[in-house]
């Protein structure tokens, strides 16, 4: 298999256009696993780690722009500067293990498209958009519209994910993951919340759930209920019931669907308590 190492985005998109059946490699922490399991059926790899402009986190007027090659270790270190992104920082702390966090990129986490992707769940709660670039076009897609199934996304073969864009917001966010152990655990269930609360009422709330459906999901019904009610014990109680009902998890090697429903409610309780602090 050929491996091409590029140092500019232009080179990358041009190669991607000419090499049919090529894949992008960055941190490699998912891709190399697929390769050793012979589940990677491409003729060539394009290593984009040399494109330094994709490794930057920059503050723009109304948003934070995170380059797709930003590693989880960098997110963990640098997101302290953006308190409303606490959910993403927490997800970055809990993803994988130190060795993985030093290599794995947030862009890779997104394009891998796992319904359990820790970074994805946090970014969805923060209402992130992603930027996709091909040789002929640049488009911005809401992250929520990116996933179509387990490991399936709307990215085209000639496109590269270059950045995530998180709108600046005034509220708070948090993330919680249940796994079999602390390190290197695929989420049995994970949730993130972004919320703005004023005078005991939610003005904005986004609740996202991982490992609960074929794609990362928003819990819209639960959100709608919380928006319509005062933030008190009864509302929390009812929202726990709603979210257990709203998700559609499966039985698999990590947990049963019934356990996931139970845990989804428990995590929601913990996160809503964190928001009150």
């Amino acid at each position: 298999m050929d491996v091409f190492s590029v140092s500019s985005l232009e080179e990358a998109v041009s190669l991607l256009n000419t090499k049919k059946n090529a894949a992008i490699v960055a941190g490699g922490t998912d891709l190399l696993v697929k390769k050793v399991r012979n589940k990677l059926s491409v003729d060539s790899l394009i290593d984009i780690c040399g494109i330094s402009m994709l490794k930057e986190i920059s503050n723009e007027v109304d948003c934070i722009r995170i380059g797709a090659l930003t590693t989880f270790a960098t997110l963990e270190r640098e997101l302290d500067a953006h308190p409303f992104c606490a959910a993403l920082r927490q997800a970055a702390c809990e993803m994988g293990a130190p060795q993985i966090r030093n290599r794995a990129t947030i862009g890779g986490n997104i394009v891998t498209g796992s319904p359990a992707g820790d970074g994805i769940i946090a970014l969805l709660a923060l209402d992130a958009k992603i930027e996709l670039i091909s040789e002929s076009e640049k488009r911005t897609v809401p992250l929520y519209d990116f996933f179509t199934g387990p490991g399936k996304t709307v990215i085209r073969p000639d496109e590269i994910l270059t950045a995530l864009i998180i709108p600046n917001q005034s509220g708070k966010s948090c993330f919680y993951k249940v796994g079999k152990r602390n390190a290197l655990a695929v989420a049995v269930l994970s949730e993130a919340i972004y919320a703005e609360i004023r005078e005991g009422k939610f003005e904005t709330i986004r609740i996202t759930v991982g490992s609960a459906a074929p794609t990362p999901i928003r819990a819209f019904r639960t959100e709608k209920f919380l928006l319509a009610n005062r933030f008190n014990d009864e509302a929390v109680h009812e929202s726990i019931r709603l979210i257990r009902d709203e998700i559609s998890p499966i039985d698999d090697v990590r947990a049963t669907a019934a356990y996931r429903r139970e845990v989804a409610g428990n995590i929601l309780r913990v996160l809503l308590q964190q928001l009150e602090k």
Partner: protein, 173 residues
Amino acid sequence: MAIRTISCRVNGVPVQKEIDSDLRLIDFLRENLQLTGVKEGCGEGECGACTILLNGEAVNSCLMLAVQVEGAELVTVEGLAENGELCRLQQAFIDNGAVQCGFCTPGMILSAKALLDKNPHPTEEEIRRAISGNLCRCTGYQAIVDAIQAISSNTLHVQQPPLSPAQEKDRPQ
């Protein structure tokens, strides 16, 4: 198969080799450079036995392509001893009974080194987090944590836990 030339520094020595472009870094280190202290456990990033330092950061060498370390500085466990003398961290692993079968040891030591180089006085929690990507199936983790704590000067006076009879027997006199 496409061949590429790769140049990097491994344990302080400049290296230049022609390799298959999709060779994994672990295979480059073990097969091309005979650095067999880099162990392959799972080959999927779960066990940390293949941990090396890449520009000072711990990474799994089984999850990287060799061509991705062009121009980089790598350290394997072979690079720690100087003039035939073990480094303090290696000696601490021996002194604390933190080595049994030894398979996890190179990766464990390099994960610990990545931590201590940045944070010479870690808490126990920071130590446990730093080695959370390294599995040990023999000693358990306490002796390993003790070894790492023993050379962080915060905790120089930590009392050693009693040795098991087997460890006592093997202890260097």
